[in-house]
């Protein structure tokens, strides 16, 4: 994840504060430039980076601050407060409820990893003894049903889909009815990839959403995405009530900073990350512990909440 990787760079930047004999505007600006460059290189949305810079700057008043030590602490905690804002939307992650059907709908851009991640999530719950199943409501992508079917079969997860029905709304609704009737607890619905520029695709998503009335909508984002993420994430959120984010392909070189703007745009927490193509390449993501870990790095421990 971007912030974890950034830890070192941020540490270095902050250390420049300790090394400086006097801390003035110039020292602060150069430290901020260093941090902002690192964030931009990790694809964090440029508007978020600019806001971070402004917020830190305006939190610091050189006139009022007394000793050098104090200045350092204030600057460091201002930086961390802003970094935390990037990953923490301040909302609790949605949790399924035992003993009732929990309908989870996957949405996202083309090729972001929805179908693969559906099985990963199903597998995760199945191992925790939830009665879990998968529905393929992607009738567009060639081979989509085969893909889900092969993944589900390998992981021994019951699935539903059709080679002949062309309407994803019909499949989603039939599948949900069937599995509800069989007392499944986790019902995961995979949908086609789509993008905001194509209205008909967004309308289709809304129809599926309105028909199955999911308990949670998960927005799946590829870790390598750049500046286009924000606009797409916002558009998805405006159409359906996205409640969680999953960032995939974090096993690669990508830092996932672009995907972070999905957190801001959807006001939803990251709940899992994908770290490979196999079904168990999947890690739970908890915002608070992640931040704690981030803060525990080296000499910056305990800077926040003071």
């Amino acid at each position: 994840m971007v912030l974890a990787d950034l830890g070192r760079k941020i540490n270095n930047a902050l250390r420049s504060l300790s090394n400086a004999t006097i801390i003035n505007e110039e020292v602060l600006q150069s430290m901020l430039s260093e941090i902002c460059r690192a964030l931009l290189e990790a694809d964090v949305n440029i508007r978020l980076v600019k806001k971070l810079r402004e917020n830190v700057r305006s939190a610091i008043d050189f006139e009022e601050m007394a000793s050098g030590l104090n200045k350092r602490k204030m600057i460091q905690s201002a930086v961390f407060r802003e970094l935390v804002k990037l990953v923490d939307p301040g909302v609790k992650a949605w949790q399924p409820v035992k003993g009732k059907p929990n309908i989870i709908m996957f949405v996202g851009l083309q090729g972001s990893g929805k179908t693969t991640t559906c099985t990963k999530l199903a597998y995760y719950y199945q191992r925790k003894n939830w009665k879990t199943c998968l529905i393929c409501a992607d009738t567009f992508r060639a081979g989509a049903f085969d893909q889900l079917k092969q993944n589900a079969t390998k992981a021994r997860i019951p699935f539903y889909g059709s080679y002949t029905e062309a309407d994803p709304v019909v499949i989603a609704s039939d599948g949900v009815d069937k599995f509800k009737g069989e007392n499944f607890e986790i019902i995961i619905v995979d949908t086609s990839g789509r993008h905001k520029q194509e209205d008909s695709l967004f309308e289709e998503m809304l129809q599926v959403y309105n028909t199955i009335n999911p308990d949670n909508v998960i927005f799946v984002m590829d870790a390598s995405i750049g500046q286009a993420c924000e606009g797409q994430a916002r558009a998805f959120k405006e159409k359906v009530d996205v409640g969680s984010v999953i960032v995939t392909k974090l096993d690669g070189h990508a830092k996932g900073g672009g995907a972070l703007s999905a957190v801001a745009a959807t006001q939803s927490p990251i709940i899992f990350i994908g770290t490979g193509e196999h079904t168990d390449d999947f890690e739970m993501f908890k915002t608070q512990p992640f931040i704690k870990k981030l803060l525990n790095m080296g000499d910056i421990e305990g800077l926040i909440d003071k």
Binding site: R37, L40, E41, A42, D43, I46, R47, K50, L109, Q110, G111, S112, G113, F140, R141, A142, G143, A144, F145, D146, Q147, L148, K149, Q150, N151, K154, H195, K196, Q197, E198, D222, S224, I225, G226, Q227, A228, C229, G231, Q232, K249, D251, G252, H253, A254, G257, G258, E277
Partner: protein
């Protein structure tokens, strides 16, 4: 955004310091358009070098000079140093009696298989017979995906349109097998069956995954295709640079041959999903110097274009 250069009017001879704030704004502008950060910086540096020491009288001349100089650099980056003319090369191969082989590679989910199918359609429209080689033997549904495309393409160009001969076939050996071997069998089959083109689909892989990168290098070294296309999506941010550098590097390092084949061209996909954030086109061409051969602009067969460099530059400067 060129108004940021207004403050420089009348300066005696432009110094780097005087230019810096304006250049920073320009850099941010390029980054907001999804140009990779270090490439945006390099572009700013090159503009700075062109401007430094110049005495510019009015705002309009400064803004004009900056715009011109950025425009020039961008056009230069996007203008291919080498033309890839697939149709001509296929005809040449045809005369020599051997199939023309194109290999598609790239990271996961960028659109390799879909754009392979679009290129297949384009080749069929141009009267060529194509064999699709299903060499992604790993990802669930990969073979069925190509089978579906083959059936659809075949329905669009039935044998009745082509003197009773089927103009597209799928060569597949299911899952789990060695991709390089399947590609070789496919090419041999194409030679026997007189296909004009072989399109080799490969599994998506992360550029840092060494075993998978080695396997790709082997596939390419063993089969020496006529064209190696790297497929990258327009959505990608700073990773564009790393992907291309490492794919090229892996092909060079792991091939065990004298003159290793590297990437010959780029397919830039999902261009319909990014509005004016067209920076990946710059990041990719700047990094490799290789041309963008095709631009994918949608999910159906005709959604394939050549790069309109002028339109890309306009979107970047807007």
């Amino acid at each position: 955004f060129f108004s940021v250069f207004r403050g420089l009017v009348g300066a005696k001879g432009l110094t780097k310091e005087a230019l810096q704030p304006a250049l920073d704004t320009m850099g941010d502008h390029l980054i907001a358009k999804n140009v990779a950060a270090d490439i945006a910086k390099k572009m700013c540096d090159s503009v700075a070098t062109k401007l430094e020491g110049k005495v510019l009288g009015t705002f309009s001349t400064i803004a004009y000079t900056v715009k011109q100089s950025l425009n020039e650099s961008l056009v230069q980056i996007l203008t291919p140093k080498r033309r890839v003319d697939i149709l001509r090369d296929v005809l040449e191969s045809q005369r020599a009696g051997k199939p023309y082989v194109i290999t598609f590679c790239g990271v996961n989910g960028v659109g390799k298989s879909t754009n392979l199918a679009k290129i297949c359609f384009w080749l069929m429209e141009n009267g060529f017979r194509v064999l699709i080689a299903a060499c992604d033997t790993f990802r669930a549904g990969a073979v069925e995906q190509l089978r579906t495309h083959t059936a659809r393409l075949s329905a669009l160009h039935p044998p009745s349109m082509h003197g009773g001969r089927e103009s597209v076939h799928l060569f597949e050996k299911g899952y789990g097998k060695d991709a390089a071997g399947i590609a070789m069998q496919a090419i041999n089959t194409a030679r026997e069956m007189r296909h004009d083109v072989v399109l080799v689909d490969t599994a998506g892989r992360m550029q840092d995954n060494e075993p998978l990168m080695r396997a790709l290098a082997k596939l390419i070294a063993v089969n020496s295709p006529d064209l190696v296309l790297f497929v990258g999506e327009a959505l990608v941010g700073n990773e564009a640079v790393d992907q291309l550098v490492k794919f090229n590097q892996a092909l060079a390092d792991h091939s065990n041959v004298q003159n290793p084949r590297t990437i010959d061209g780029i397919v830039l996909t999902k261009f319909d999903t990014i509005d004016d954030k067209v920076g990946a086109a710059i990041s990719m061409t700047y990094t490799t110097g290789q041309p963008i051969v095709f631009v994918g602009t949608g999910q159906s067969y005709p959604d394939l274009r050549s790069l309109n460099a002028k339109a890309v530059v306009n979107a970047l400067l807007k």
